[in-house]
Subunit: 412 residues, 2 copies
């Protein structure tokens, strides 16, 4: 018995007709001999509507009630998918998160999966059931309350089921046909990747490529779940989409796999900060407490006992960051001359596991940007990524130039 | 500690604003010193939408999946009501049917309540919670699947909670302000009743007065739950609405409490049926198996070994009844000369516990109809009810004449 996990996102189950199309894909995999676990999202727009209801009702909502409300869209699609499969004479039934039970932590609205018992569903497969349809995104806390896994959490549900059931693969059906070297709206030379390593996908996901929830990629990497991203709107074929897999399953690859970017960045500079041991903690502690997601950090060379500290954060957290710094200054925890926010920046990154074994990748990136006359404001690097903060007006130019420079329009 | 059950129907929770208005009523009862159990329906229209999805997906649907889908609307309103109460600083939380757990039979889509454990919710009341919000209409089967109680089932949820928690009263908030002597759209003389006996309400409910689900009234009668029907769109007062209660709590009442009617009736006559022992069973067995809800039955006097058998059923079951009879004839189970369906009829009934002790009520009804020139086609009676089938064109005239004849525009 080989188990395949198939996940259908909101646009893939947006109407009864689309649910039927998705069910046909499931039917073909059943005909291929698989027992299938289908994970469904809510119909497109449904979860947003429910979140809107909650936020309008109670701006500082009780996350337990939020979860009870926003998880209900998945119950609808799970039942409808099971019914559609039954109409096709495929033995199927639905499970809601608490029925599996998909046990999570009690961190409501952002719960983490603790355990997925398999016995119950395996027993049904043994009795002739061909498809288990699971309401994605939702679980149950040790206290017996409904939890959700955060927006995009159905991806994580799917990978967790694939890991628990040792599935041959986890197919994520979405409205794009795979992972691209960069956003095709920025350059027509963007190319769909046949394969990408978990580490690369992780960097791309957290850098703003919205194909997969970041946590689902982490989980797939940890349990070595073969993850395939493909479109529910195109014809099926065995090599469709992009396979997200372990590095060793990729024979040839470009040094750089993709160029990612994010427009929602702001650059904040604390000027004239007293340069003393512990100053970084004194600044970034209060920011973290205020819920500011600091990304890049640069400390300038100290000059006469004071320094400038620059960091980036999402643009919608600027106000919160300013308040946290003003409060810390008022409380005497830190001292600085001024705080300058630059909201006209963006982040552009190159990602690739090939960087580990190739020197000069960062240098080539900087050279390429210099040749285009683009000034770099902040740089950060990791083992497989180089990110720069630049003026937002250069975003398209930078992405196109880097895409060309690293030859991403051609396969390795 | 006195527990009050308050149930809000779909129109009473149709928008976030209406949920707030309902929550204010709950808040006033909390201020009055009650611990409150709130039962909510889905937002108006939501359950119909979900039922439509299921029927379009699978005309002969698996009722287990139907229940999983159509129960989800109540989860949304339960969470939103809890959040609204919390915003008003009233300690509240929501429970879905399976969380209580409200245990039912496995008769999906029409399940009956088996048990409502109270310990969990009572413990929360003991800890300071003021309102338990319950998703109505839904429960859980012994197999752990979601069940629903049939359309209008939230009324039954409410009464069952009131019985289990020995509530002081069960207030059903709806879009009408109480139970009337007849439909005010038929005669402006229709009068709201302050009190009505369970038995009378039961007859009125099953006769087409759509204020309460029939089963909820049965349950209230069995457990002597004081049931109040009142409008969520009018100002609160202690004597608002109609109290449905035991006969002994009604001091004075009219002989006839109300005039009910139903337009959705058809009269079917099987002509030339061989009159032999067991013929009734041979006819009504197949009809029951075909899901035809036979209401009134009249067997004409036998004439030369054959007889005419007349029965009434809902108008949308005529086709099914015709097929069942044709099949039974083809199978040789029964024989008859012809089957005539009259779909231009209606049923008018008078209901009142006073009939038990007053002779001549039926005679007065027949006299009144005769005086208006209305021909009676079929009659049935019970201890507290007389029903007649008449031509549909006389419906308004019959209701108005009976309302006048029994003095229903005046309180006893």
């Amino acid at each position: 018995m080989s188990i395949l996990v198939m996940k259908f996102g909101g646009t893939s189950v947006a109407t009864l007709d689309r649910i039927r199309r998705a069910a046909k894909r499931v039917g073909r995999e059943v005909a291929n001999g698989h027992d299938v676990i289908v994970i469904v999202s809510a119909m497109a727009g449904e979860t947003n509507k429910l979140v809107g209801f909650v936020e309008e009702t109670s701006p500082l909502y009780d996350a337990r009630e939020y979860d009870a409300v926003v998880s209900s869209g998945e119950n609808v699609t799970a039942g409808l998918m099971a019914l559609t499969l039954q109409e096709m004479e495929i033995p199927a039934r639905s499970w809601q998160g608490w029925q599996v039970p998909l046990i999570t932590t009690s961190a409501h609205a952002a719960a983490r999966i603790e355990e997925i018992p398999t016995a119950n569903i395996l027993k049904k497969f043994g009795e002739g059931m061909k498809v288990a349809v699971i309401a994605g995104f939702q679980g149950i806390s040790p206290e017996g309350r409904i939890t959700t896994l955060g927006r995009g959490g159905s991806d994580t549900s799917a990978v967790a089921f694939a890991a628990a059931f040792e599935a041959v693969r986890c197919d994520i059906y979405t409205d794009v046909d795979g992972v691209y070297t960069t956003d095709p709206r920025i350059t027509s030379k963007a190319r769909k990747l046949d394969r990408i390593a978990f580490e690369e996908m992780l960097e791309l996901a957290s850098l703003g490529a919205k194909v997969l929830q970041t946590r689902s990629v982490e989980l797939a990497m940890r349990y070595n779940v073969k993850l395939r991203v493909l479109s529910s709107f195109e014809e099926m074929s065995d090599d469709a989409g992009t396979l997200v897999c372990a590095e060793e399953d990729i024979v040839e690859s470009n040094v750089v796999a993709g160029v990612a970017f994010s427009r929602d960045e702001a650059k904040m500079t604390l000027q004239g900060v007293a340069d003393r041991p512990g100053i970084a903690a004194a600044i970034f502690g209060p920011l973290a407490e205020a819920g500011v997601n600091v990304d890049m950090i640069v400390q300038n060379i100290s000059d006469g006992g004071t320094t400038d500290m620059t960091f980036s954060c999402p643009i919608n957290e600027v106000k919160r960051a300013e308040k946290a710094m003003a409060d810390a200054k008022a409380a005497g925890a830190i001292d600085f001359a001024g705080l300058v926010a630059d909201t006209n920046v963006c982040k552009v990154s190159i990602v690739g596991i090939g960087m580990r074994s190739h020197a000069g990748v960062a240098a080539k990136m900087f050279q390429t940007l210099r040749d285009e006359g683009i000034n770099i404001k902040v740089i950060t690097t990791s083992e497989i990524k180089v990110s720069v903060l630049i003026d937002r007006k250069y975003l398209e130019l930078a992405v196109q130039a880097l895409h060309d420079a690293f030859g991403l329009d051609r396969a390795a």
